[in-house]
C-alpha cells in the first residue's frame, strides 16, 4: 500500500484531494490556538504577558526539529531504496524546516531580552539550534550547486544524515550541559511541569503548527514533482530540436554536389 501511495502519479492524486481539507483544518487549528493562547491562557506569575511568545516559539522549535527528522528518514529512502519521492520530500521539507528554525531563533531571542536580559548567549541549546539552521542553509545551497538532480540527491542525503547527529544534541543539550535555557518541560519523565491552563493552549498551537507545516510540505512536494516533469520535458524538447538541427544540416550537406566548396 505504501509503495502504491508513494508512486508520484498516485501521490499527485491523493495529495490533491487531501490538501484542501488539511489546509482548512490547519487554518481552523491556528485560529483556535491563537484564541486559546491570547484570551484563555493566563499571564505567567513570573514572565507575565511575555509567556505568549512561548505559544509560537515552542511549536516553531518542534517543527524545526521535526522537519529535519523527516529529512533524515527521506535521506535513508534516497540512499537505500533510491525512491524518487524520498528526494522530493527532502527537498520540499528543507525551506519549511529552515523557516520554522529561524522563527524559533528570532522569537527565542525576543523572549530572552526581557527575561534573561540578553538577546543571545552561546548556550548549548541556542547554539545547537543555530547549527541546525546553518545545516538547513547548507543543504539548500548544496542543491543549487549541482545540475544533475540524482547526484545532488545523493550528496544532500549524505549531508543530511551527517547533520542528523545534531538532533539528539539539541534534545539533550539542556541535560548534558549547564544551560541558561530551561530543561524539558513538556516531554519529560514524570509528566509535564506546565500548568494545564497553559499546556492545552500550547499543545493546540503545536498541533495546529504541525498541520500547517504538513499542508505546506504536501503542497511544495507537488510543486517539486511538477518541476521535475518540466525539467524532463525541457530536456526532451532540447533533444528533439538538436536532432532536428542535425538532420537539417545533414540534408543541406547532402544537397551540395560533390567537389563544390561548402
Amino acid at each position: 500500500m505504501w509503495t502504491r501511495l508513494a508512486n508520484p502519479g498516485h501521490f499527485m492524486r491523493w495529495s490533491g484531494a487531501l490538501l484542501p481539507w488539511l489546509a482548512g483544518l490547519s487554518a481552523a487549528g491556528v485560529a483556535l490556538g491563537l484564541y486559546l493562547s491570547w484570551f484563555v491562557a493566563p499571564p505567567d506569575y513570573q514572565q507575565g504577558e511575555t509567556v505568549r511568545i512561548m505559544f509560537i516559539h515552542v511549536p516553531a522549535a518542534w517543527l524545526g526539529v521535526f522537519f529535519y527528522g523527516s529529512m533524515a528518514l527521506s535521506a535513508i529512502g534516497t540512499l537505500v531504496w533510491r525512491h524518487p519521492l524520498a528526494d522530493v520530500a527532502q527537498r520540499a521539507a528543507a525551506p519549511i524546516g529552515a523557516a520554522f528554525t529561524l522563527i524559533c531563533l528570532v522569537t527565542g531571542s525576543l523572549w530572552g531580552k526581557p527575561m534573561w536580559g540578553t538577546y543571545w548567549v552561546w548556550d548549548a541549546r541556542l547554539t545547537s539550534m543555530l547549527i541546525l539552521f546553518l545545516i538547513y542553509c547548507g543543504i539548500m545551497a548544496l542543491w543549487r550547486t549541482m545540475e544533475d538532480p540524482n547526484r545532488a540527491a545523493r550528496a544532500v542525503a549524505i549531508l543530511t544524515l551527517v547533520g542528523a547527529i545534531n538532533l539528539p544534541i539539541i534534545k539533550f543539550s539542556v541535560n548534558w550541559w549547564s544551560t541558561l535555557h530551561q530543561p524539558a518541560s513538556i516531554l519529560r519523565m514524570g509528566g509535564s511541569t506546565i500548568d494545564p491552563s497553559m499546556l492545552y493552549p500550547l499543545l493546540t498551537m503545536i498541533g495546529a503548527a504541525t498541520l500547517t507545516g504538513l499542508s505546506l510540505h504536501l503542497y511544495t512536494m507537488r510543486t517539486e514533482i511538477l518541476r521535475r516533469r518540466v525539467r524532463t520535458l525541457t530536456i526532451r524538447e532540447a533533444e528533439r530540436l538538436d536532432a532536428g538541427a542535425v538532420g537539417l544540416a545533414q540534408a543541406r550537406a547532402d544537397a551540395v554536389p560533390l567537389g563544390q566548396a561548402l
Binding site: 504577558e49 511575555t50 516553531a60 522563527i103 522569537t107 510543486t223 520535458l233 530540436l241
Partner: protein, 53 residues
Amino acid sequence: MIDLGPHGGYILGSYAFTALVLCGLILNAIRDQRAQKRALADLQAGAPAGDRP
C-alpha cells in the same frame, strides 16, 4: 485590547515576525507552483519554454 505590559513590543514583534515568515513561505510556494504549472502547460502544448512571453 489586552494590556501587554512593558514587554509588549517584544511580544508583538515575535508574532509579526512569525506572520511575515509564514506569509512569505506560503506566497512563495503558491507563486512557484503557478510558475511550474504554466511552464508544464506550455511544454505540453508544444511551445518551447524559451519562446514563452
